[in-house]
């Protein structure tokens, strides 16, 4: 009984050590996953000229999220995005075909009414975006920020207007107290 209890203790402590190592690795990954600025065409084209809905150009804050069906991290990101239900997000999905793109969207569970399947890469080429996952943050049709999205942690703060960095808020907006 004594030997068994000591063995159990050793096994549990080994699991604790494994867990601590895992947490350490996760922390390292989170720190290592920093967004990088991306190249995009300036001045940005009008949203309707690349096939995006007209109303998006009027949005005071819009996040265009560029994803691809062939990108594994895009899939993970999309699953997290599905839960956010942000009104400021529009997804542009690169897919080999329109049907493949919608199938991907349905599999993930994203809303179809906030997605453009860009199988012809009209939007991607129009903005000059060549990497996924990436975002362009627009204010009334003007691109204010373009960067990669290594993880959902970098995207989440931009999906709400509550805590935007100063460079992304309009000059006449007063931050909420």
């Amino acid at each position: 009984m004594a030997i068994l209890s000591v063995l159990i203790l050793v096994c549990l402590l080994a699991m604790v050590d494994q867990r601590r190592t895992l947490d350490h690795v996760r922390g390292h990954l989170a720190r290592a996953a920093k967004p990088e600025a991306i190249e995009y065409i300036r001045p940005a084209p009008s949203l309707t000229s690349v096939g995006l809905p007209a109303g998006l150009g009027e949005a005071s804050h819009l996040v265009l999220l560029f994803l691809s069906t062939s990108c594994t991290s895009c899939l993970s990101l999309a699953r997290r995005v599905k839960e956010s239900a942000s009104e400021h997000l529009w997804i542009v999905l690169n897919a080999p075909s329109v049907s493949a793109g919608w199938e991907w969207i349905d599999d993930v569970g994203l809303r179809r009414d906030a997605v453009t399947v860009d199988s012809a890469q009209e939007v991607f080429r129009g903005f000059g975006v060549g990497i996924t996952p990436a975002i362009l943050v627009l204010r009334r049709g003007e691109v204010m920020l373009g960067q990669t999205v290594p993880s959902y942690d970098q995207l989440e703060p931009l999906l709400s207007t509550d805590n935007l960095p100063p460079e992304l808020t309009e000059a006449d907006e007063v931050p909420a107290l």
């Binding site: 004594a2 050590d17 993880s151």
Partner: protein, 172 residues
């Protein structure tokens, strides 16, 4: 009074040795690094032998089959750890302390040397103070091991409840 003191010293000494030995066996890499940093030979053997001696000492302290052997092992362990601290000080090396395996962030040095009197006190208590023995000692050992195990299990459960999947960890 001396019986209570004896039992308390027994339990504390055994608990510390039990946890130290179990931690070293559960996660030996930190202890191995420490041994290599000290330049000791037969590192792979010491990585297993030292924690086993700690566990044996903890058991002997509680069971009291031979208080003399238990006291001798306590002095040897204390002297070894104090000696390791002294070596680190004299060589002016920064060597991670692996007294409790991966737990703790200190370095070897004056603390290990200063702890030698405590080891000697524990050894003397084993020899001269009354305490538990036999089946009661085994029971105390089981209780100590399972109590530490429950703390470890609780830590794991708390961490599991707050964790996300590996995929989410990689995708943020």
């Amino acid at each position: 009074m001396s019986a209570m003191l004896g039992v308390a010293v027994q339990a504390i000494s055994a608990a510390l040795l039990l946890i130290a030995g179990a931690q070293k066996l559960a996660a030996p890499s930190r202890f191995e690094e420490t041994l290599r940093a000290l330049g000791l030979p037969l590192v792979r053997s010491l990585v297993v032998a030292v924690p086993l001696v700690e566990l044996l000492t903890a058991s002997l302290i509680l069971v009291r089959l031979s208080p003399q052997i238990a006291a001798a092992l306590t002095v040897i362990l204390g002297g070894s750890f104090g000696g390791a601290g002294l070596v680190a000080l004299l060589q002016r090396k920064t060597v991670q302390c692996a007294c409790f395996g991966p737990i703790g962030k200190g370095t070897l040095g004056i603390r290990q040397v200063a702890a030698v009197p405590l080891w000697l006190t524990a050894a003397a208590a084993t020899l001269y103070l009354p305490g538990v023995s036999g089946a009661t000692g085994v029971t105390v050992l089981v209780v100590l091991a399972l109590s530490a195990g429950i703390v470890a299990a609780a830590y794991l459960l708390i961490k599991l409840r707050s964790s996300s999947s590996v995929e989410e960890a990689y995708s943020g």
